[in-house]
């Protein structure tokens, strides 16, 4: 393989004689050696489930998991007939949009803070990392405990501050539960996002600010005129990774409300999970997974546009 590579490099610098067939085959196969393992892993573990999922959505499957043959679009008809579907999809869009926007805004401020010089900055950076290192599930569980209607600390603090006069069962009311779960999702998204913004801030060369200062630009103008535009790649990457993660932030909802009461706090992923493993309706769950998948595909297109924009810059 080594001399093959050497030949390839040689071919770039000097107009080599036309390579023989064996060489051409060898050259065509070299990439496979390097990319093969990744290709196999992606194909078997990521693409196969996609196909399996689509097949499932078209099959009739018994509650014990046995395939009873094809069902055509029946599962989809069932799914679209569910009264809960529209609210669940709308809630998912609100969930993703709300969390990503709030996360991005807070992270821009946090990134700025972590980039500024002050005593103890490293310790603050470490503290901000913690929710990233701690598992999302465990963070969700501690918030569930803090929001406990009986002995949770949130009620205790609010009682002590006389903001409420009796304990509130936060997670039992859909609206309040959604608010708190979105807050937890923002909380666990902040570390990664802030670090990407911080990394972005560190790529901005200091002389750009020097020039702005010489031109007499104020803080606000410098921020909106220089910092934000130069942060665009970081903001783009961070927000897109967030959209994907938040769309799939199953553990938060699963641990805190289980999508309940009823389906009042379900998103597409928890709804899909309940259809398969609670209602034993694997086929309809497959249909939900496909719909979920299409929603994500829309985001893939957004990401591809962003990526093309990124190549343009390079």
């Amino acid at each position: 393989m080594q001399d093959l590579k050497a030949k390839e490099r040689g071919a770039v610098t000097s107009p080599a004689p036309r390579p023989s067939l064996a060489q051409r085959i060898g050259r065509a196969l070299t990439p496979l050696l390097w990319l093969g393992p990744a290709l196999v892993l992606i194909t078997v573990v990521v693409l196969w489930p996609v196909i399996e999922m689509v097949r499932t959505s078209l099959q009739k499957i018994s509650s014990s998991g046995v395939t009873l043959g094809y069902r055509g679009g029946g599962n989809y008809t069932d799914l679209f007939g569910e009264d809960d579907l529209i609210p669940v999809v709308l809630r998912t869009l609100l969930w993703v949009g709300g969390i990503v926007i709030v996360t991005m805004v807070l992270s821009l401020a946090l990134g700025q803070l972590l980039n500024a010089r002050f005593p103890g900055r490293r310790v603050v950076r470490w503290a901000v990392i913690v929710p990233w290192a701690a598992s999302v599930l465990m963070t969700a569980l501690i918030w569930k405990w803090m929001l406990d209607n009986y002995s949770g600390i949130v009620n205790r603090v609010l009682l002590d501050l006389h903001l409420i006069d009796k304990p509130v069962n936060w997670l039992a009311h859909p609206t309040q539960a959604m608010f708190w779960m979105m807050w937890v999702a923002v909380f666990v998204s902040l570390p990664f996002t802030s670090f990407v913004i911080l990394a972005g801030l560190q790529t901005i060369p200091g002389d750009v600010y020097e020039a702005a200062r010489v031109d007499g630009a104020g803080h606000v103008r410098t921020y909106f005129g220089i910092t934000l535009p130069l942060l665009r790649p970081a903001i783009l990457i961070a927000s897109i990774i967030n959209v994907i993660n938040v769309f799939n932030s199953f553990p938060i909802i699963w641990a805190m409300t289980g999508g309940g009461p009823g389906h009042k706090t379900d998103t597409t992923t928890t709804y899909m999970y309940k259809l398969a493993f609670y209602d034993q309706n694997v086929g309809e769950s497959g249909a939900m997974a496909v719909v979920n998948f299409i929603l994500i595909l829309v985001m893939v297109l957004l990401y591809l546009r962003a990526a093309r924009w990124r190549e343009e810059v390079r």
């Binding site: 990439p31 196969w48 002050f118 901000v128 990233w132 501690i142 002995s151 670090f195 994907i244 493993f277």
Partner: protein, 287 residues
């Protein structure tokens, strides 16, 4: 947050110091806000069981029950959960690196037929988290006869973190001038020698970011483990720990004692690699 209106050039020493103090104050408040849930976790883990049913709850344990941290090991197979999590996360990280490193390196250094298609495939698969495909994954594992095995968890974690790692490493390798390797070639090193002795050491921030990202993601993975594993001795921490609180029992103190046991090593790891992380994210994902 800013305390001055005067232009930078005329800034005297005193306002600059005030600015620093205010920044530090805000910084420490932010740090506290990020730590509050985990402090609460710590205090709850130290409460005696009867105190947990008090209403309203207490801020600090009335009696610091350090024995919870001992008892938790016998209250549930925490050791087994830890071992499973560690095995899955470490193996998944190894598999991911073994697949991502050559792919990222080759695509960064060579133009070849199918390069664009490969990078596109990576980009597209980056869009999918296991959560979105869990029904398909479950059915696949049934078909492969891999349900209730650690192998299924390792494969899923490795595959779904691969795209991010390829992108980070690809960005990093692209940023390293080819000339450095060519110099090593001239000194008689082979391609592998140049890669391992020249390129990889410079790429450490990228490699560390890839390792940390994959390890943490696998360590935290929940839905596939919940779906695919059934035996108690094949459950990772994420699936095992919540069983301390079910409709039949509510040992919150054990839940959080076990959570802390699981969180602290990872937090320490993160603190060690924090510098690398910023460097890795800078070169890899943003450039």
């Amino acid at each position: 947050m800013t305390t001055r209106s005067a232009p930078e050039g005329t800034l005297s020493r005193a306002p600059r110091r005030t600015r620093k103090i205010i920044l530090a104050g805000v910084g420490w408040l932010v740090a506290l806000a990020f730590l509050v849930p985990y402090l609460q976790m710590f205090f709850t883990a130290l409460k005696p069981e009867r105190e947990l049913t008090k209403s309203p709850g207490t801020y600090l344990p009335s009696h610091w029950t350090w024995s919870n941290f001992v008892d938790v090991w016998s209250a549930a197979p925490v050791w087994t959960y830890l071992r499973v999590s560690l095995t899955v996360a470490a193996a998944a990280t190894l598999v991911t690196l073994a697949c991502a490193l050559p792919a990222a390196y080759y695509t960064a250094r060579n133009r070849f037929r199918g390069r664009g298609a490969f990078l596109l495939l990576v980009l597209v698969t980056q869009m999918f988290a296991p959560t979105a495909l869990v029904i398909g994954i479950y059915r696949e594992m049934v078909a492969l006869n891999l349900t209730d095995t650690l192998m299924s968890l390792i494969l899923v974690n490795a595959a779904f973190n691969l795209p991010f790692c390829i992108w980070i490493l690809h960005g990093y390798f692209s940023s390293i001038p080819k000339e450095l390797e060519e110099a090593a070639f001239l000194d008689g090193a082979g391609r592998m020698g140049a890669l391992t002795r020249v390129t990889l050491p410079i790429s450490m921030p990228g490699v560390v970011t890839a390792i940390v990202y994959t390890f943490i993601a696998a360590w935290n993975e929940y839905i596939v483990a919940l779906t695919v594993t059934a035996s108690p001795d094949r459950r990772p921490l994420t699936v095992g720990i919540p069983s301390f609180v079910t409709q039949y029992q509510a040992h919150w103190q054990y839940l959080f004692a076990a959570s802390l046991i699981a969180i602290i090593p990872v937090v320490i790891l993160f603190i060690f690699v924090e510098r690398y992380l910023i460097g890795g994210l800078t070169a890899g994902s943003i450039k």
